[in-house]
Symmetry: C2
């Protein structure tokens, strides 16, 4: 019985690590109304020096420090923003870290040895698993989590298991296509028409600023203090007040994001749809329109069995989820 | 150890049942190159009298007959075309049988008793599971099967498990939306824009006949012997010959179906995409265009890990899959 697990969140800004007690107890009774508090917690800036060897050295030191008084085997889960390949912890790419084809799993195993078995996870998958076990997904064996922040990411739990796909790139909901053809917006992935290119925070904010700078009229400009300072929260306040520009924008974007959620729920028939991420939490009007569109487009039997809810764990979801994933029997 | 399992395919035309030996052995080594031949097989017409009690009586008699010389407990899997609700075998609706809210599981359990534990499955899920264990999906723990026949149906296996969703209506890929707005085509489900309303055989054939009857010019009319006799295979032959009508139709339909496949693969990251069903098997030109569109729209990492292949089990897939699903430990 594993008494402890370590969760690490390797983010673009912060590097966080935490030691948790009794992860298997939590996993054995998902849905229990149990708070999960780390025994020990550490946070530092990721910093500028992001070479794989240097980061691996720092992560290893962190693990040794945080588990210094634990004698057991301690599983270590590392979540990072980016794309994995295969199941051995190869980072195919991470824009934040400027990594490509980094064998992070091997780098960590070489440093940590057998006492600290390592799992490497996509951060959104880790967050989703954390929400599943101790957050907004408690008690649901089938759930879909969708996070609309700078990008659009997702995670799937089916039959109580995290679905990672054959090559660890399942749940890339942001790259589902919502507009077809040559006029579709170009996504950072290189293809056109991905929902992320319409509803992802970076794309949407840039588009809004471009359109307002080009002369579009909206109260969001006053709220933000100039076109270049407009944030999506300003657009949402404007929309709430009936602003024509904001409402036209939402009339385009909300159906696209809503239809994407509907298609994913139609395919997966989850019991819960968990929405999270910085964009939707700051844009209540947009969120309401997205949910309305989702309900209009979803296959009725799937809609009848799903509850739409909000991510509950906040910033801790990543470390909790990574620790729990690593601790799975 | 269960030595036998029975699979039943309750179709709109035929009612088929078969007794299989050693299902657990097959399940224990999916990917084994083992033919699966029924010990005994029976087929009769479903007939006109489709009341639930009458059908249940007939199914029970079939089970007793086919397993008359077996002493063991024999799991019985029943696959049918239609929609389930919950996990106790309630048929929410079946257009073929004209059923609504029929507790088929209870009807069968009352007749068969504990010696024949019963599982009720959506037929496409059963077919998918059969392909997974002994067909085109052998050796793949993650697969998506999509069948384009009169409608568009699908099945998902993830991590070696059939994904049924929280209420047994997962994988309804035919009801993923591909066109948004009031002009989208109306689907039989009551909503607009479902891919089935564009690419499902019934819809597509009706549309072609309507357009040709209204005067559209195509060589398919000659091939079919009049607009009302045109089948999709005629359209495909016309397309192969450069027929403008057929090519324009495909230029609309192939991207919609291809994008749907791409979105599902982007979400699920399967190792194999199995295509089947009466439409795609008779329309090689359409199939080629659909696969090309799929490749163009799919998230590149998911595309890199998927192999597109063709369903292998034919008419037997349903009885094999139902038997194997029922026999699962």
């Amino acid at each position: 019985m594993t008494a402890y697990a370590i969760g690490i969140d390797l983010g673009g800004t912060n590097l966080r690590a935490a030691l948790f007690r009794d992860p298997l107890e939590l996993l054995a009774r998902p849905g229990a109304d149990s708070a999960i508090e780390p025994v020990r917690h550490h946070r530092e800036l990721t910093g500028d020096d992001r070479g794989p060897e240097i980061i691996a050295d720092r992560l290893a030191r962190l693990v040794f420090d945080i588990a210094s008084d634990v004698d057991d085997t301690v599983p270590v889960g590392i979540g990072f923003a980016g794309m994995l390949r295969g199941h051995e912890g190869v980072v195919a790419q991470s824009p934040h870290l400027h990594w490509r084809d980094v064998a992070l799993g091997d780098l960590m195993r070489a440093r940590l040895g057998p006492r600290f078995p390592v799992g490497i996870y996509n951060d959104v998958n880790a967050i989703t698993y954390g929400e599943h076990v101790v957050g907004a997904g408690r008690g649901a064996r089938d759930l879909l989590a969708v996070f609309v922040g700078t990008g659009v990411g997702g995670g799937i739990v089916a039959g109580g298991e995290l679905i990672t796909g054959s090559d660890h790139c399942a749940a890339e909901i942001g790259h589902m296509k919502v507009v077809l053809g040559d006029d579709a917006r170009l996504c950072a992935c290189g293809l056109r028409g991905c929902v992320e290119a319409y509803a992802g925070g970076s794309f949407l904010e840039r588009r809004v600023r471009d359109e307002l700078a080009a002369g579009a009229s909206s109260r969001a400009v006053d709220l933000g203090g100039g076109p270049d300072h407009v944030r999506l929260s300003h657009v949402d306040v404007a929309a709430a007040g009936g602003d024509a520009y904001a409402l036209a924008l939402y009339a385009e974007v909300a159906p696209l994001l809503g239809a994407t959620l509907a298609n994913a729920v139609t395919l997966l028939n989850p019991q819960r749809l968990i929405l999270g991420g910085g964009v939707l939490s700051r844009t209540p009007v947009l969120r309401e329109q997205v949910v309305a569109a989702f309900e209009a487009y979803c296959n009725p039997p799937a809609l009848a069995s799903v509850e739409v809810t909000t991510a509950a764990l906040g910033d801790d979801a990543g470390i909790v989820g990574s620790a729990l994933l690593a601790a799975r029997p």
